[in-house]
């Protein structure tokens, strides 16, 4: 009798274990498929950038037959029609200055709206919300119209200006962060004798490092990926950003397109990984209590 019960329970245990293992295998299969789907187009792009032939049509099937660095070399040397280095330089300038100005403006706005209780506050928040609901196109079309009429904003500083000035409307994420700083720290500082300006510089900013990094990184990477506004605004070839320039390459220059894309995608992806890791760490260690 006893042996039979023992067998029963051990079979049950075995069944349970088998189920677990099968389940795990299934999950891993799904994961592998999913990741393959995400990886594949990127892989294709990377490999294509190393393709020996330039055009899309020369490659039967997906992947290039012959590989070379040609596309990359051409990117930087054949600058007559497609001045990649110039595009890079332009975009870099825009990114750096946008990063600086946008971060300043957004952080300032978010902090003020989070901390100060002033009469116009709710009104401002509602207006910001309403403004952000207009298709961003409306503003861009106006600028385009002004451009065609006056030829004014045809340079990269216009882009910096527009990016920076429209950035504060997206203050909500940063404000959410500032909302989590306990009021008692500010009160202690007030009693200690700090003016609000001093509180901002000595207490708020140091505590806001994670969100400042987030804002800086996102505003740095944005000009690299934005296409519409630069296309509208920057007419002369020498003023183009990378995004605009790459879109001019047709199917004949596919390898070049891939190469140019990969070249800027790599640093952006690296920055994003860095950002995700920093955000994760920043959120957990920023335990502000005490």
């Amino acid at each position: 009798m006893k042996t039979m019960t023992l067998n029963r329970s051990s079979t049950k245990a075995m069944n349970y274990k088998v189920k677990k293992v099968l389940g795990a295998v299934a999950i891993y299969c799904v994961l592998i498929i999913v990741c393959a789907i995400f990886l594949f187009p990127c892989l294709w792009l990377i490999l294509s950038s190393f393709s020996a032939t330039g055009s899309l049509y020369d490659t039967p099937g997906f992947f290039p037959e012959s590989y070379s660095f040609d596309a990359f070399i051409k990117l930087f040397t054949d600058t007559a029609n497609h001045n990649y280095p110039q595009w890079l330089a332009n975009t870099l300038v825009i990114a750096i200055f946008n990063c600086i100005f946008s971060t300043l403006l957004i952080i300032g706005t978010a902090y003020v709206i989070s901390y100060f209780q002033f009469k116009a506050r709710k009104g401002l928040m509602k207006s910001a919300l309403v403004l952000s609901m207009f298709p961003s196109f409306m503003g861009m079309t106006v600028i385009y119209i002004l451009m065609t009429q006056f030829n004014i904003v045809n340079n990269i500083w216009g882009l910096v200006l527009i990016y920076s000035c429209t950035a504060p409307l997206g203050y909500l994420v940063q404000k959410g962060f500032f909302d989590t700083i306990p009021q008692s720290i500010y009160e202690a500082a007030k009693i200690d004798g700090a003016t609000n300006a001093r509180i901002f510089t000595t207490i708020t900013l140091p505590l806001a490092k994670p969100i400042i990094v987030y804002t800086a990184l996102t505003s740095f990477t944005w000009p690299w990926s934005d296409f519409i506004l630069p296309k509208l605004l920057l007419i002369e070839k020498d003023n183009w950003t990378v995004a605009v320039g790459l879109m001019q390459l047709g199917q004949d220059e596919f390898a070049r397109f891939a190469a140019g894309s990969v070249f800027i995608a790599v640093p952006i992806v690296v920055l994003y990984f860095f950002l995700v890791k920093y955000m994760v760490n920043g959120m957990t260690s920023g335990a502000v209590k005490g």
Binding site: F38, F134, I145, F200, S225, A258, I268, V269
Partner: protein, 450 residues
């Protein structure tokens, strides 16, 4: 409902009473400020403030006399003299008139606001003096800007930037929607106000109307489908990756992040090439004996829509996954343990604990992503901007309202129609958002967070 109106009525009559009372009770200094900005302040020995307000008045009057007034007039007429390139006659540029007029109106509003502030300031000082206190000195005002009124200092630049680069352009475009600005009415040809004619065109039969409704229908279908698809799949992926069995979570998460990090125009163009008529996928199909599938070409209406849906999922699921992962990590693990002891299997735990919590936490973002997808310009611009379909006025069967907008305005210069459509998009999306946002607990409970 009646009560709301009554309350509004009482509020209005109370404000009126207080307004009348203000004039009766205002002392001489306040009345002085009412007649000449800054005068009351001078009478209180507030030199700094007085100079500032007086300066505003002088500048304001000068501006309006020299430019402002005629610009505002120009706003209404939009120019009367048409220029003639043949004779070289310089005419009125309607667009410039509209812009300058608009700026003048804003400056007028600003001037009025400063005037009211001037009167209020004098009145407040008079109340202070009554209670036996001294009028505030300019030095203290400056110090306040770094302290009690620090918010004014900080918000000044963002506010200025937003007004110039967001508010004015939007108002300008709203105005354009009521003109006939567009082919052929482009300066130097004079542009005129046409009232609601553009909207009539959009909603009636004719060239534009039918296209509008077709695109609107597809736009709504698209927004719902893609939002739901991305949300559900992203959520599932996050849950999958969150399971205890999965080792090396960070490694698995890298791949979606890769897809998310690469700039959109790159991946979209890559997909466009991938699915092109002569592209690699079709090549593989033909080399295996099939006929090429019209993924993105003219005839492939539903293929194109399907591909668009899939590609957008590829692009957006990673961000949904990241968000859901963050939220899942906030769920109290005690809940799961209690459920396990109660006898709940993993399916039940998912249904009763995970799902409700995540849905509750992500509902606000669901609405924002719905709106974002409604206006998702990039997907169909990069994939199919060269295609036009029969029966669509300068558009195709996968275009969203916003793509159509772009084509109308930028490619074909039908600015006024484009502006009108912008307005319609705005009304749709804003109504949805405002209603849901104001009813959401996040908005109501904002202050209890502290």
């Amino acid at each position: 409902m009646k009560r709301a109106f009554r309350r509004l009525g009482i509020k209005i009559s109370d404000s009126w009473t207080n307004f009348i009372n203000f004039f009766k009770v205002a002392n001489t200094n306040t009345k002085a400020s009412m007649s000449l900005m800054g005068l009351g302040q001078f009478m209180y020995r507030q030199v700094g403030r007085g100079i500032m307000y007086l300066g505003v008045e002088i500048l304001g009057i000068l501006f309006f006399a020299i430019y402002g007034f005629q610009w505002i007039v120009g706003l209404f007429t939009l120019g009367t003299v048409q220029g003639d390139p043949w004779t070289g006659k310089q005419g009125d540029n309607s667009v410039i008139f509209m812009l300058l007029g608009l700026m003048s109106v804003f400056l007028l509003i600003l001037f009025i606001a400063l005037y009211i502030s001037n009167v209020r300031d004098a009145n407040n000082t008079s109340k202070l003096v009554l209670k036996g206190e001294k009028p505030k000195k300019f030095k203290d005002d400056l110090k306040d800007l770094l302290d009690k009124k620090f918010y004014k200092t900080v918000l000044f630049l963002p506010l200025l930037g937003t007004i110039i680069f967001s508010v004015i352009p939007i108002v300008f475009m709203i105005l354009v929607a009521f003109t006939n600005y567009g082919e052929p009415y482009i300066p130097p040809v004079l542009v005129d106000w046409v009232g609601l004619e553009n909207f009539v065109q959009i909603f009636s039969l004719g060239e534009i109307g039918p296209t509008f409704f077709k695109i609107l229908g597809w736009n709504i279908l698209w927004a719902v489908a893609t939002t739901l698809l991305n949300y559900v799949l992203g959520l599932l992926l996050a849950i999958l990756l969150n399971k205890k069995i999965v080792k090396g979570k960070f490694f698995w998460r890298l791949f979606p992040i890769l897809a998310y990090a690469i700039p959109g125009f790159i991946t979209l163009t890559a997909f466009k090439f991938m699915f092109a008529q002569g592209g690699p996928i079709n090549n593989m199909i033909t080399s295996n004996g099939g006929s090429p599938i019209p993924f993105l070409t003219e005839d492939g209406t539903w293929w194109a829509r399907f591909i668009g849906l899939m590609i957008n999922a590829w692009l957006t699921i990673p961000s949904v996954m990241l968000l859901a992962t963050g939220i899942l990590s906030n769920i109290n693990s005690d809940l799961y343990e209690a459920a396990k002891i109660d006898g709940a299997g993993s399916a039940r735990q998912f249904k009763d604990i995970t799902l409700p919590f995540v849905i509750f936490a992500t509902t606000p973002t669901l609405i924002t992503s719905f709106i974002g997808n409604f206006n998702n310009f990039g997907v169909f611009y990069f994939l199919r901007s060269t295609v036009t379909t029969e029966g669509y006025f300068v558009s195709n069967d996968t275009d969203l309202l916003i793509n159509w907008l772009y084509r109308l305005s930028i490619d074909n210069q039908f600015y006024s129609i484009g502006a009108a459509i912008s307005l319609i998009i705005f009304i749709i999306t804003s109504s949805i958002s405002l209603i849901i946002y104001i009813k959401s607990p996040a908005y109501k409970k904002e202050d209890t967070f502290r």
